[in-house]
């Protein structure tokens, strides 16, 4: 099951050229682009790990692409996303975030139903991949 989180996730995967153009758009808006990765892509998982430090004061997307390629070399079997942080007053939050790398196979999620008191049902989504230990979830 293809995971759809952030921008562009209903489109075919972006090519490097397209990623680079998006990054350049972010930089021209003065946003700092960060690289994050995870192997637990649950939609409620807000805490992806960061690759390196946030990249402030960049002028050209080539710098971000350099880091992204290095991140792919190490964590190419996981989800990697770019997020663009706007530090200007009043925003101080992420303005754009999109997935730039995903595992070859995405096993998807199962829906668990808990029957609780009064025949109510509570739903939980669980990633099939997350059953395995960290670092061995994909491939």
């Amino acid at each position: 099951m293809r995971i759809t989180q952030g921008c562009f996730s209903f489109l075919p995967d972006l090519t490097d050229e397209q990623i680079s153009r998006q990054v350049q758009y972010c930089l021209e808006n003065g946003w700092a682009v960060n690289i994050e990765f995870t192997d637990d892509p649950h939609p409620r998982n807000n805490f992806w790990e960061m690759w390196g430090l946030p990249m402030f004061d960049l002028r050209d997307a080539a710098g971000v692409m350099m880091e992204l390629n290095q991140c792919r070399k190490v964590y190419g079997d996981r989800y990697i996303r770019l997020s663009a942080f706007d530090s200007s007053h009043g925003w101080e939050s992420v303005r754009l975030s999109f997935i730039v790398n995903r595992p070859k196979e995405e096993p998807g999620f199962r829906l668990e139903r808990h029957e609780v008191a009064g025949r109510n049902i509570r739903y939980t989504t669980k990633s099939y991949a997350a059953d395995r230990p960290e670092g061995r979830r994909y491939g």
């Binding site: 430090l53 004061d57 002028r59 050209d60 080539a62 710098g63 350099m66 880091e67």
Partner: protein, 310 residues
């Protein structure tokens, strides 16, 4: 464009090309604003012409290689290396050889870390900021410390070399430093020498050039020499040049700053006087002659004593 369309009958109007990129403007500005430096200007014109032709060749599909543009600027302090680097960046930007045209100026401190594992992220951060522009490394020979083999400078050098080679289209590196020490640096790091296409040597300024620089600087600040002061300053330059630690245009700028200080002091000393704009603008001979340089001239023995006492 493929080879069929770019047949040999395609004509190119060089003048139009030149005007389209607008580097002529930068080159004439360079001629006007930088005094002396004739060999440097010639080299820059040559490089600009080469790049213009390279650009046309690329459009006609005659070449696909990105030319190596890394440079090294050698010369004594204050000969205009940083200023020229800024101009080079805008020339490269106009010609489309760098995408953004910013200049990131760094020294050893910004590249080399303090402890193990600190250097690589630091160097990479600088490189990322310089992507799409020019990385200007001032006093680059400090990166290499031959007396300490565990120095982290070597790590920075390796990362630099790798990026200089693999991302030639993203970044231009300019190394700058004093001539003899840069020679030693290149001798111990042959990788750098071979990756640098243009070695440009900045000559020292002659005395009339230094005077012209001084007058240009004063003009920018809306000051001027009186006739006497100009005479005195000519003598000042001749004396200052013979003294140690002379750093060309930078020394001149510092001397001018001190003279402005003395002028202000002189004007404030006489509060009852009514000043004209001309008084406030002009530096007098006394402002120049009060310099320590002349003191040493009058009596070398006395200055030696003073140096000891100080």
């Amino acid at each position: 464009m493929d080879m069929d369309t770019a047949d040999m009958t395609d004509t190119v109007n060089l003048r139009e090309e030149l005007e389209a990129v607008g580097i002529e403007e930068i080159l004439t500005q360079l001629d006007r604003e930088l005094i002396g430096l004739a060999p440097v200007k010639t080299r820059i014109r040559e490089i600009a012409s080469l790049l213009l032709i390279e650009r046309i060749r690329k459009r006609l599909n005659l070449t696909s290689e990105v030319p190596t543009l890394h440079m090294s600027f050698t010369g004594n302090p204050g000969t205009g290396k940083t200023t020229v680097a800024l101009r080079i960046a805008s020339i490269l930007h106009r010609l489309g050889f760098v995408r953004r045209g910013q200049v990131v100026s760094v020294t050893r401190d910004e590249l080399v870390g303090q402890y193990i594992g600190h250097t690589a992220p630091k160097t990479k951060e600088v490189l990322k900021k310089a992507m799409g522009g020019v990385l200007f490394i001032d006093e680059a020979y400090y990166l290499h410390r031959p007396d300490n083999e565990r120095d982290y400078g070597q790590e920075a050098i390796e990362i630099l070399l790798q990026v200089m080679e693999s991302q030639r289209e993203d970044l231009v590196v300019i190394l700058a430093g004093y001539g003899d020490r840069m020679d030693k640096f290149f001798a111990s790091n042959p990788g750098f020498r071979s990756r640098i296409a243009h070695h440009i040597d900045f000559p020292d300024y002659s005395e009339p050039e230094l005077l012209a620089i001084a007058e240009l600087m004063l003009g920018d600040m809306n000051y001027k020499f009186s006739a006497d002061a100009r005479e005195a300053f000519i003598r000042y330059i001749a004396l200052r040049k013979t003294q140690p630690l002379f750093s060309n245009a930078r020394s001149i700028r510092n001397a001018l700053d001190r003279m402005r200080l003395r002028q202000a002091n002189r004007l404030v000393a006489d509060l009852d006087r009514v000043l004209t704009a001309d008084d406030i603008m002009s530096l007098e001979a006394s402002d120049v002659l009060a310099s320590r340089v002349f003191l040493k001239d009058r009596s070398t023995v006395r200055s030696a004593e003073q140096a000891r006492d100080r």
